[in-house]
């Protein structure tokens, strides 16, 4: 992407200081919604029913196959291990591989200088093309920029041999100065990580003299003028967030081989099969058609697998060793060298009148993108473009972010994608302002937040065409009311002990659903002669239940039993194109493609029904596995239609449906979070008694699965509030090598979470659905910070919230 070619993405900003306000009729309130999309609850047969998760029986019996479970199918499989930089910054001058190469059982050794090592630059970010991330790294790196940067790789007959071989490899470096702190890195005297010529596909606002990968900004109205007004007070607060690890229980794992047709096959744990295929084709300089990426069950993604991290190493080694290779990262590598959430400092500023009118609102983020720039600009964009639109009634709004490199491990996409960092700043700030002005924090928000009919210009503030959106569904009021009731907002009782205080804090959040104008999902469906169906979808189920949602959507259209649909997803040889599982797009974008494919097939089914029943198509519909006539009550089974269509008269045909979907819309889901906390004012110790989160996700395609998504996201959000995250020694080496050191809240340490689905109807989504799984990731840090403030009057603005910090604030 060049500087003149901004991505049309709500969060993928270009550098424009203010936006051209588009004609409102580009975003009409009335949405031309097909009739069948808005079914009353009692008309739906599959959608909004708690259908059993399609893969659950396999998962609970241990029959499901994840990438590593394919090992047994490859008797000559080699295992990979990687040599990683021991220094934070420098250049590799020599690599001694002799001992490794002569070891029994070692099949291949690669260094940056090997013929078999791809030498093209790329980004590990699994994004659309052209990627809004810089191409700034190699598969194996000579210039190393963090402890953990990959330098060399080995394939050997088993793990132990590969690991032992790695230990014999000696690396000599020329060491450079390094910088770990983002504020220090962002100065002209800091050691420089990149020169312009090191990077292809440079991103808008880059300034490598100051280690800046990108700068983005956008403004609506005139913020400075609002600060200058006599009737406003300017409030400023600053917030910082941790480096959170995805810590998916299944590590990054990838198995590569070249098949009998000389095509490169990757069985891999990924969220983005199609992007991975394209990126591998680029790195290995082969046509896209010669790469096949297929995803079995995935043991968790959360954005960490929206990155091509292990695939190129597995494939390069497999080509060099001439046999299949599996690369499974170790848990220590996961923390040191895979991806993490961008830690940030976010400043919030507002101009508010005495009556509590917010005249201006501003966020500034300094984001630490680590050694490389993957997802750096887009995540930072979302710090503003996801939370700020909540307050669409504020007339003057500004957002800016600087994204800087440090010699620390690389960050990437993570559930919430910048919105958690923005949400804590915004929701913590507004809470503080309300308290300053002695206003009720909820009513203060209510006066400014968006409602149905609002044109959200803030999402489009940074220049994303199509990112502006009309709000057509919004359940914020209900989320607040139901959340208040569930947490017992009005009935709170103080503990008996005088030094213990209880408080409830709340926070709101908005996200998007898909990337406006920059996504595509594809699906096709084939009818079998027994009336069953094969549904093929490019969309990616990483454990969220997406496959089941696709089946429910198709079953709803076709009027068949869910069990009569066999689904195949995410295999680039066998399923249509899809951008992948990210940006909360799966149900909305890929699900709509499924709906269209099913409708296409249904049209043919009704034709055949008409022929078999001898009745006009207009009178026919499908339900309960039959085509029936509303006029006469006559019916024919789908099984008969399936049979007749392929074995019947000379007009026989295979009934096939296809659909693909892309859209400029990205409707926000909403959440209201409540946290109930008891704090000991003597020690600072606190207990989170309960978390309640109410989410407006449109129509929940499967309420049981949607609740699970909400609870899991909220748990991850709780971790963001109370866990230290990945910490480093003074050379940027992760102090966390396994789960016990990461120290996230366990089952016994976690507060109960109550999830509430507040259903609205989003006319642009399949059967009224919008997204659900990201928005509850954003809200616990601010709600908990606000709750502590309510309980004992001190503000924790630096995550994590700990007893020691509360105590020291209390002492001040």
């Amino acid at each position: 992407m060049s500087e003149n070619d901004p991505k049309p993405d709500g969060g993928t900003a270009s550098q424009s200081s203010s936006v051209e306000r588009e004609a409102l009729d580009d975003h009409p309130l009335e949405w031309d919604e097909p009739e069948n999309n808005r079914k009353a609850d009692d008309e739906r047969q599959s959608v909004s029913r708690p259908a059993e998760k399609d893969d659950d029986r396999k998962l609970v019996t241990g029959e499901a196959k994840y990438t590593a479970d394919y090992e047994e199918q490859f008797p000559d499989l080699a295992h990979a291990a990687v040599v990683r930089s021991e220094i934070p910054h420098g250049r590799v001058t020599a690599i001694d591989t002799d001992a490794a190469e002569s070891m029994d059982g070692v099949h291949a050794v690669l260094t940056p200088w090997s013929d078999g090592c791809p030498d093209a630059k790329y980004t590990s970010a699994g994004q659309s093309y052209p990627e809004p991330s810089p191409w700034d790294m190699n598969v194996l790196n000579e210039h190393v920029r963090y402890v953990g940067d990959p330098i060399a790789a080995v394939a050997a007959e088993d793990d132990e041999t590969a690991t032992a071989a790695v230990e014999t490899i000696g690396v000599e470096y020329e060491e450079y100065e390094y910088v770990l702190d983002p504020e220090e890195a962002f100065s002209e005297d800091a050691p420089q990580l990149f020169a312009d010529e090191d990077v292809e596909n440079e991103i808008v606002g880059h300034d490598y003299d100051r280690n800046r990968m990108s700068n983005i900004e956008g403004e609506l109205g005139d913020v400075a003028a609002a600060y200058d007004r006599e009737d406003t007070h300017v409030h400023e607060t600053e917030w910082s967030t941790i480096r959170q690890s995805h810590a998916q229980v299944e590590k990054h794992t990838s198995l590569a081989y070249t098949d009998e047709d000389d095509r490169h096959v990757l069985i891999t744990s990924t969220q983005v099969p199609n992007h991975t295929r394209r990126q591998l084709a680029h790195l290995f300089d082969v046509p896209v058609r010669d790469v096949r990426v297929t995803k079995p069950r995935v043991g968790g993604g959360f954005g960490g697998k929206q990155a091509m991290v292990v695939e190129p190493i597995a494939l390069a080694l497999s080509l060099a060793a001439d046999r299949p290779v599996i690369y499974e990262a170790s848990r220590a590598e996961e923390f040191q060298a895979m991806r993490s959430r961008h830690p940030m400092r976010v400043r919030a500023r507002s101009a508010v009148t005495d009556d509590g009118d917010i005249e201006a609102l501003e966020l500034y983020a300094l984001s630490n993108t680590g050694a490389y720039g993957s997802h750096g600009m887009t995540v930072a964009g979302n710090v503003g473009s996801k939370p700020m639109p909540l307050y669409s009634k504020v007339p003057n709004v500004r957002f800016e972010a600087d994204i800087v490199h440090t010699n620390t491990p690389q960050t990437g996409a993570m559930r919430g994608y910048g919105a958690p960092q923005g949400t804590i700043a915004l929701e913590g700030h507004l809470d503080e302002v309300a308290r300053d002005l002695d206003l009720d924090p909820i009513e203060f928000r209510r006066d400014h937040y968006m409602e149905v009919g609002d044109l959200d210009e803030i999402a489009g503030m940074m220049g994303g065409e199509g990112a502006e959106r009309r709000i057509r569904s919004c359940g914020l009021d209900d989320c607040i009311e139901r959340g208040k009731e569930a947490i017992g907002y009005d009935e709170i009782e103080q503990p008996e002990a005088e030094h213990r205080h209880r408080g409830i804090g709340m926070a709101l959040s908005a996200q998007g659903t898909g990337v406006a104008g920059d996504e595509l999902g594809g699906a096709q469906i084939m009818m079998n002669e027994d009336g069953s169906f094969h549904l093929q979808v490019g969309g990616v189920d990483i454990g969220t239940g997406a496959d089941t949602a696709f089946i429910q959507i198709a079953a709803e259209v076709l009027g068949c039993d869910e069990r009569d649909i066999v689904i195949k997803t995410s295999d680039t040889d066998n399923t249509p194109f899809d951008y992948g599982a990210y940006a909360s797009s799966t149900t909305y974008i890929s699900g709509m493609a499924v709906k269209k494919a099913a409708e296409d097939a249904k049209e043919r089914i009704l034709d055949w029904g008409s022929r078999l029943l001898d009745e006009p198509v207009e009178d026919l519909d499908t339900a309960d596995g039959e085509v029936y006539s509303e006029a006469t009550g006559e019916s024919v089974s789908l099984e008969d239609v399936g049979y007749e269509s392929v074995y019947g008269d000379e007009d026989r045909e295979h009934i096939l449906g296809k659909g693909s979907h892309s859209t400029d819309e990205s409707p926000p889901p909403f959440a209201a979070q409540f946290a109930d906390v008891t704090v000991d004012a003597e020690t600072g110790e606190f207990e989170v008694n309960k978390l309640v989160v109410a989410v407006d996700c449109g129509v929940a395609i499967n309420p049981g699965m949607a609740e699970g998504q909400v609870e899991g996201a909220n748990h991850m959000s709780y971790e963001l509030a109370v866990n230290e995250g990945i910490t480093f020694d003074d050379e940027g080496r992760a102090e966390v090598a396994d789960f016990d050191e990461y120290d996230f809240p366990t089952a016994a340490e976690s507060p109960p979470i109550e999830s509430i689905l507040v259903e609205t109807h989003e006319p642009t989504g399949p059967f009224g659905a919008k997204s659900v799984a990201e928005v509850p990731t954003n809200t616990v840090p601010p709600a908990l910070s606000n709750a502590v403030r309510e309980a004992v009057g001190v503000r924790i603005d630096e995550m994590p919230i700990t007893a020691a910090k509360i105590r020291s604030r209390l002492d001040e």
């Binding site: 059993e52 029959e63 229980v249 239940g545 748990h715």
Partner: protein
């Protein structure tokens, strides 16, 4: 070295390497329901029952399995005939990516055998070293409490185990006992 033990109710002989971990040996022999999530001993994904006690198969040498009775997830129900704990996980939407679930279910089985009527706190403590990144533990805890009620004191063995009828996916773990040929 040859190790003889009882695996999922069948006498079995493994040929295991001297330092081989139990998890590696089990997975090599096709018991891939036993998962590996960490560098050893802290995530619970590899839990199996050893003489009825939930243990991490990555924290135990295969050699030490000699003479014991080991149960893996494959010993529980089949897809068509789930064990009550498995059924409860399905019914409560307690499974997302599923990677941690076999270990979690084996841990639940140990708990319910010792304490058929646990409190919520006891369930949470029992699964305290089973890392799940997807669910927030809320639904697994509900599922285990519900399973306790469903089993109501019996051990949940469903007597007759059936073989899946979905054409070529026999899901009965007992068929896999003989791999010492």
């Amino acid at each position: 070295m040859e190790i003889e033990f009882t695996l999922n109710d069948e006498r079995t002989t493994f040929d295991a390497g001297a330092d081989e971990l139990l998890v590696t040996a089990l997975r090599r022999e096709g018991y891939t329901g036993v998962q590996c999530g960490c560098d050893g001993g802290v995530c619970g994904a590899s839990k199996v029952l050893v003489d009825g006690e939930a243990r991490m198969a990555c924290g135990m040498d295969a050699a030490d399995a000699g003479g014991t009775e080991i149960e893996t997830i494959e010993a529980l129900g089949s897809q068509d005939d789930l064990h009550p704990i498995q059924q409860a996980f399905v019914d409560h939407f307690a499974v997302q990516c599923g990677f941690c679930i076999p270990g979690m279910i084996m841990q639940a089985k140990e708990l319910l055998a010792a304490n058929p009527d646990p409190s919520e706190r006891e369930v949470r403590e029992a699964i305290d070293d089973n890392v799940c990144r997807c669910t927030g533990y809320q639904k697994p805890v509900e599922a285990i409490l519900d399973a306790a009620e469903r089993m109501d004191g019996d051990d949940g063995a469903s007597g007759q185990r059936s073989v899946a009828t979905d054409g070529g996916n026999p899901t009965d773990g007992h068929e896999r006992g003989d791999f010492d040929e």
